[in-house]
Symmetry: C2
Subunit: 203 residues, 2 copies
Amino acid sequence: MTEQPAPRAEGAAEAPGLSRAQRRLRSERRILEAARELFARQGFERTTIRAVAAAAGVDPALVMQHFGSKQGLFTQAVRVAVPESPAAQARDQEQVVDALLGSLGLKLDGLPASSLAMMRSMLTHPEAAAHAREVLEAQISGLAEATAGPEARARAALLMSITVGVAVCHQLLALDSLRGTPQDRLAALLRPALRALLDEDPG
Amino acid sequence: MTEQPAPRAEGAAEAPGLSRAQRRLRSERRILEAARELFARQGFERTTIRAVAAAAGVDPALVMQHFGSKQGLFTQAVRVAVPESPAAQARDQEQVVDALLGSLGLKLDGLPASSLAMMRSMLTHPEAAAHAREVLEAQISGLAEATAGPEARARAALLMSITVGVAVCHQLLALDSLRGTPQDRLAALLRPALRALLDEDPG
DNA sequence: GTCTATATCAGGATAGAC
DNA sequence: GTCTATCCTGATATAGAC
């Protein structure tokens, strides 16, 4: 901290007074941030290491140095705390609906780039697909426990499917018909539908 | 037809007695079929001309000859009769629900490879995304006309989003929790939810 | 009409200087 | 720790023989 670092590397020019470890961390963060954004926008295949490096303002080789491979970068970029089931500690069905709408509310606006990156590639990248399946099945399990009545798992799966569909159409496809409606209205319209799926119903 | 064709080209060995035009059409069909299947399974980027040619039993150069480029091949492969809105001529809301479930019933089982190919790439391939948006917005418009009450378009958009979500989770992600349930059960469970979205409801 | 051969290029990955 | 230079693979696309 107190020693005067000699400007060895060119890149150091922008970050005076930082230790190597600090600079390394800073680089990693910037790379990850740029990667998440590009992966989220273009998906895995169309995103190049070079583009990520450019966006992060670092050298392409540095990206490899830190993450080993493009796949490694992707894995790190989409790894997040596995989102708890939307109905983690819901006590009645109305709370389950609230939880679902809440998680969707998130998805309609402030969904983190890492999640978007995962979703963007989940249909075309095998590892992203596996990740998505894992997360979704976990959420379905949690939801099924909070769902009374017969065929709880199927209902839960359909509830998550609805969530996925709305998120995909709104966030990834950016359908005008969805974008043109404020999310609280969407939530209000969706609520009875979710409720109906949770209701016990003689199929 | 009556003339004895001399075996000029090697490929002709498999198809004796066919005119050039006929053989050309046959090749195109086989290529398109193989392309649809591969695009549907792997998406645009991971599908190679070589793989399509191999699957179709023809030479890679032939694919280029017929379709000009990989993009051209994709465009042809996903071009289908634009599916009419699920609620084309529904007279009451229950028929709209039926139409939706019907189109979803299709999606759960017999969705054509061309549609799957389009869906598989709609999140990562710009042209597929544009195509998907176009089709979906058209279906939303049709649906909105058949939907009474306020915010008809938003409701219609949500209905289509649900359809997309279920199709994606079932067909493309192959979620076990959905796969484990027969589609008529899924339809039965989904029905009240769709109904709820169509009901006029004081938001 | 179909195939062989190849031009051309993009992008991931590596080696090594500093 | 960061950058330069480069290798190498895989894939699209083309030219031309048959």
